[in-house]
Amino acid sequence: MQIVVNGEAQEISRECTVFQLLQDQAVTLIAAVVELNGTILKQEHWPSTLLQAGDRLEILVFMGGG
């Protein structure tokens, strides 16, 4: 099943939640910001949100800035 993460197509297994996807990249540990199909996805909903084919996911993080 294919979704788009940060603008790049990516193959994932069925039945995968946002939380699982992020966990695989250890992103869960670093307080990222997630936008699913253009709307913010609060952290508490990551585990309960199943990814659908074609979902567009933006995963953002705060960096040093002036």
Binding site: I30, G65, G66
Partner: protein, 267 residues
């Protein structure tokens, strides 16, 4: 010393922005530091209460640490909208930052020019108008111009942040005359952002009556960033006290500090 900084930082002289009484008039940027680890040490040394950061796509292959994890809990977060080329992009970044739990303060930064990174006052105004409507505490970074500053003020900006010189140039108050006029003509706080490269330049901005200064590159690129953060902390307090104390007149010729009667001339 404490009593002195008290004088500069007592609630009597606090800076009111977005309903918060700030005791420190030094805002800090977190970019360009050699490591995340040094950031909390710098913030501690600077005594700052307001800190800026940027929002970016994660590097999906090897995710980096989130800077937020390195900021003391009690600091006010001032996410910037760097990377935005239009008001719409700026607005989108502001909403994401807020959703991410950064609170409702935002530094508007809309830039097309890639050589001097000068802000676009038009797009900045549009973004300010929209975000104020949405309840944000909006601090727009702008190119010093009185007509633009008045419009930003009318649009509800909580403070105006004119540049002293191009971002990261460390060249100080190149736009001094225009900033002086903004301080005189604008009623919301004027915070000098960008360009300040030396503690003395921060002190001068404060002596002119600036409400605060935002510093990043000058500290991040110093040989010893923690020591430089301390230097800026003292300089901002010094400039503020100098402003409050009321400097003496400048004179073309000399005026003796010692009694002008010669020593034994009369003999």
């Amino acid at each position: 010393m404490n009593d002195i900084i008290e004088n500069a930082n007592t609630s009597d002289d606090s800076l009111l922005i977005g309903g918060v009484h700030l005791l420190s008039r030094l805002f800090l940027g977190t970019g360009k530091f050699s490591s995340h680890e040094i950031v909390p040490l710098v913030l501690e040394a600077s005594g700052t209460q307001v800190v800026t950061m940027a929002l970016r796509r994660i590097d999906w292959k090897n995710p980096q640490e989130n800077i937020l994890n390195y900021l003391p809990k009690n600091t006010i977060l001032l996410p910037n909208t760097s990377g935005a080329r239009t008001a719409d992009e700026a607005v989108r970044i502001a909403r994401l930052a807020q959703a991410a739990g950064c609170g409702n303060w935002v530094k508007i930064e809309v830039v097309q020019d890639q050589r001097y990174l000068l802000p676009d006052n038009w797009e900045t105004l549009r973004a300010t108008e929209q975000l104020v409507k949405e309840g944000f505490v909006v601090l727009p970074y702008m190119s010093p111009d009185l007509s633009a500053a008045k419009r930003l003020q009318d649009a509800g900006a909580a403070a105006i942040m004119p540049l002293g010189a191009p971002i990261g140039s460390n060249r100080g108050l190149q736009t001094k005359e225009l900033i002086r006029i903004l301080i005189e003509e604008i009623s919301v706080p004027i915070i000098v952002d960008a360009g300040i490269g030396r503690p003395s330049e921060a002190a001068e901005a404060m002596e002119m009556g600036a409400a605060a200064v935002l510093v990043n590159t000058a500290i991040a690129t110093a040989g010893d960033p923690v020591l430089m953060a301390q230097a800026f902390r003292l300089a901002v307090a010094a400039g503020r006290l100098g402003y409050l104390a009321g400097p003496g007149e400048r004179r073309v010729t000399a005026e003796a500090s010692s009694p002008l009667t010669g020593f034994l001339q009369e003999v």
